[in-house]
Symmetry: D2
Subunit: 284 residues, 4 copies
């Protein structure tokens, strides 16, 4: 049984692109982290070091900067799609391309025309994969740090020989959410108002996190995912990855104090980690 | 010439305290990182391992949690002051105590009573040092990430044999600001509306960053510091530490494109680093 | 078309376990980061918050600590396998379990019996997945930071409209390698000397990185992967993820100096990123 | 009382320099992170944005690269000294300069001539400050992660109302040490074998950490610092900053298991933090 080359791809990761739209005195700024990866016939590069099929990652980086000028950045989905299609269409050995983009938000300082302050830690993301026929778009948000100071329970769980956790009917529920959602093929073909879709999904996630009385983080996530799909018919599925950031009530009784759900120790590790996909029936 | 023990102190760093104020249905949450350090006569601990004078750092952590319940957290300056004075007054070998606090902000989700979303990366800080007579309070902000997309120049600088940088009259100016300001002894004694002072200083810093046409980051920082002292008479000085986060205009001419200040590469390292103190005349 | 629950699992991530083997005066220490994730019928937890099937992640953490005492840690593969099988066999709703472990190395200080110094940044890893019938084991290494100061070329590559990179026949080649390799089903069933296998694979990777004259990072990786499979018949495939950490020769000519491959600027971002799988023929 | 400019300096932080010495086939590599900061008369830059006295930080970076070629890097202390003196001597407005360098170690792969593997996390450091008359050199090491699996106690400590910690006569002692030591003025003037001094100090620190039976981390640090000064007469003082990385013995009794000092939970935060200076009598 011989040894052969398996799946492989390569690209330029984390090109940090800042784009100013200065059509008038009121500037708009876009702050992106762009990663490209190309798949194709690169066997010779691996087996004998022949680079004839290999577009340098440096050229990929240049393309990102050039497209930021020539194509512009409407929404990150559009920009990623333009880049991915370019690599597939214009670089012969490339059969498919993946473009990942993270966007960092900025807010105006006192509605100033050209002075900005970095907004929250929240990051908007997209991952576009294209080949010569079609494209998939998986967009998302990460570092959405959410917390409920009450309205969360954890009780009536399975108890085994290693279970010491007491049940609770009032705890702090906190997470740093990563959400990624897939657009349907027809939506990608037709085009979507990506920014509006982002806002709608994000709004649904926040609303359900806040307003569902949570018997389990799993239940909150299911309700959040379901609401996102209901809010946005163009989505086929949404995946939620949610660390459970433990806030442990401190036992103050040694100091003659009670602690009616007021003083907590936030721990770093370990943390619970819940991953769940919510999808339309019939999809996988 | 013998070898002797020099300056020393010890404490508990980074106790992560979360406090819910649940006086009514509308919860308030406070999210702190508290570090304590004690100075005193700990010579025996060092020289012969005699711990009789050493209050465990574990006890210091317990004190933080207990005080969060018994004293509460009005503003981080009040809380740090209470802790520092306790260590000095109630723990015999301690002659001075330093309490550092970082506060992370949370915003309500759609004005919800008990659901929150972590606010921006910006962190409010204080460092309180107390001995048996008085206390110093140095408060601040860090991770204030600011950017101007125009209105910044860098020209007519000193040119030596190693200078290749061209002058520019329109560049991106970006920084991740750390500001720390000292309150006067009388202000500490009298008490200050710490939250209002924080807002006033922060507001002055942002306003001057945005509105000063900058010939140098140094000039912006001077104007920012000056405005902060003018806005807040209780301050004796303010120190600004400002990395210059370089946004380098990309040369797109190899691709037949111009770049009229629109496409930039954000670099991680190296970065300029400017540190400046602005103070009232007569102070040091 | 309704909305349904898709794939889901949950567990406890990053339990930091330190184990001392103190069978005699000469201690052995093991420093692990353990993450567990369970798959099974957790529909009710999501849909109605019914936790009857949910073993708390806290119990999973307890199990990790208890097994560290009762089972012990021969090699991380054995420990992960014991944990994974326990969750599948002893926790009724669980149909499969994944246990990921990172191991951090320690070296003795001057061959001392119980004093240690943390070894390099390199981390040994395993990921064991088990269901009621069998188990897969994917082990690996990460943060293997490697560099060649010569013996690396990059030339004769594909040139498109966005290519400005000059070819080079002598460059610095540097990477921070992540390698993961899969053991065959028969090897898992029969058992493997996991530590010896780790050393053999690691040795093959380092040897080929050092001794292959590299026409492309892809070529080095292929040779490294091939050598690993040759050295260790129990492997079915190996995946290498290799950022290309760019060392850019600095143009010193403005200062009247040449630079015959001696002075380089190390950049953080962007970086090339090469991912390649090498496998036995007939496998996927 | 007016508002005036206080202390200020500026420079280029974290220039990542990689230097290959290729005098023969057997290459030597040096991997540095260099930060420069200049002090002088920069009042006009702050008050009116006049840069005539300001050498760009970009030029400082260029100088680092150029000196790496023209002067070379004997030891980081020599290199920092050359840079600092250059800025003071050759850049008119500069009255003093500070150059900080971190050096990352590399080891040969199987004694190869030009293939290397990054050594442990440990970093060697120096900070050189020079004015027109003399220079101070403070060198050090950081990220020296050390652990004793026994031979450490913590008992007979001060107990107050907030103390719940039980005393222990056998615990894990672990730290990530940062050490910085000052060379005497005569040593700086005369020159020192910096590499040998580094090895001697580091060796003394490790030896005492390992071999002192520790009644307190403070005691270990004192013995370590004392041994360093004894080993190296050129030092006037040494400062040790030592987080106490807590390894908490896990209570396994709920699972019917004992835990004779074998199973520990490593916590991230909070951590103890001990800072101590050991110095020669008569110095400050």
């Amino acid at each position: 049984m011989g040894i052969v080359l398996g799946a492989n791809h390569y690209g330029k990761a984390e090109t940090r692109l800042f784009r100013i739209v200065r059509d008038d005195r009121r500037h708009v700024v876009r702050d992106l982290n762009v990663s490209t990866a190309l798949t194709g016939d690169f066997t010779a590069a691996h087996l004998v070091g022949d680079q004839a099929h290999v577009l340098p990652t440096d050229s990929q980086k240049n393309t990102v900067f050039a497209f930021a000028r020539s194509v512009g950045i409407a929404q990150i989905e559009d920009f990623a799609l333009a880049l991915a299609r370019h690599f597939v269409d214009d670089v012969a050995p490339v059969t498919s391309a993946e473009v990942r983009i993270e966007e960092f938000g900025w807010e105006r300082i006192s509605d100033h025309d050209h002075a900005f302050r970095k907004a929250g830690a929240e990051v908007r993301t997209t991952c576009v994969t294209a080949d010569s026929r079609d494209a998939q778009i998986v967009s998302g948000a990460r570092d959405l740090v959410l917390l409920k100071s009450t309205g969360s329970e954890f009780a009536d769980f399975l108890v085994d020989d290693y279970t010491t956790l007491p049940p609770t009917h009032d705890r702090v529920l906190a997470t740093s959410l990563t959400a990624t959602w897939s657009y349907s093929a027809t939506a990608v073909e037709r085009g979507v108002d990506w920014a509006a879709a982002y806002d709608a999904v994000r709004g649904a996630l926040l609303d359900r996190f806040a307003n569902v009385h949570s018997l389990a983080l799993q239940q909150s996530l299911w309700e959040m995912g379901k609401a996102a799909l209901e809010a946005q018919p163009d989505l086929t599925s949404i995946e939620l990855v949610a660390p459970n950031i433990h806030h442990v009530a401190v036992d103050l009784s040694p100091f003659g104090l009670d602690n009616p759900g007021e003083v907590f120790h936030v721990t770093d590790r370990p943390y619970g980690l819940i991953e769940v996909t919510v999808q339309r029936d019939g999809d996988d």
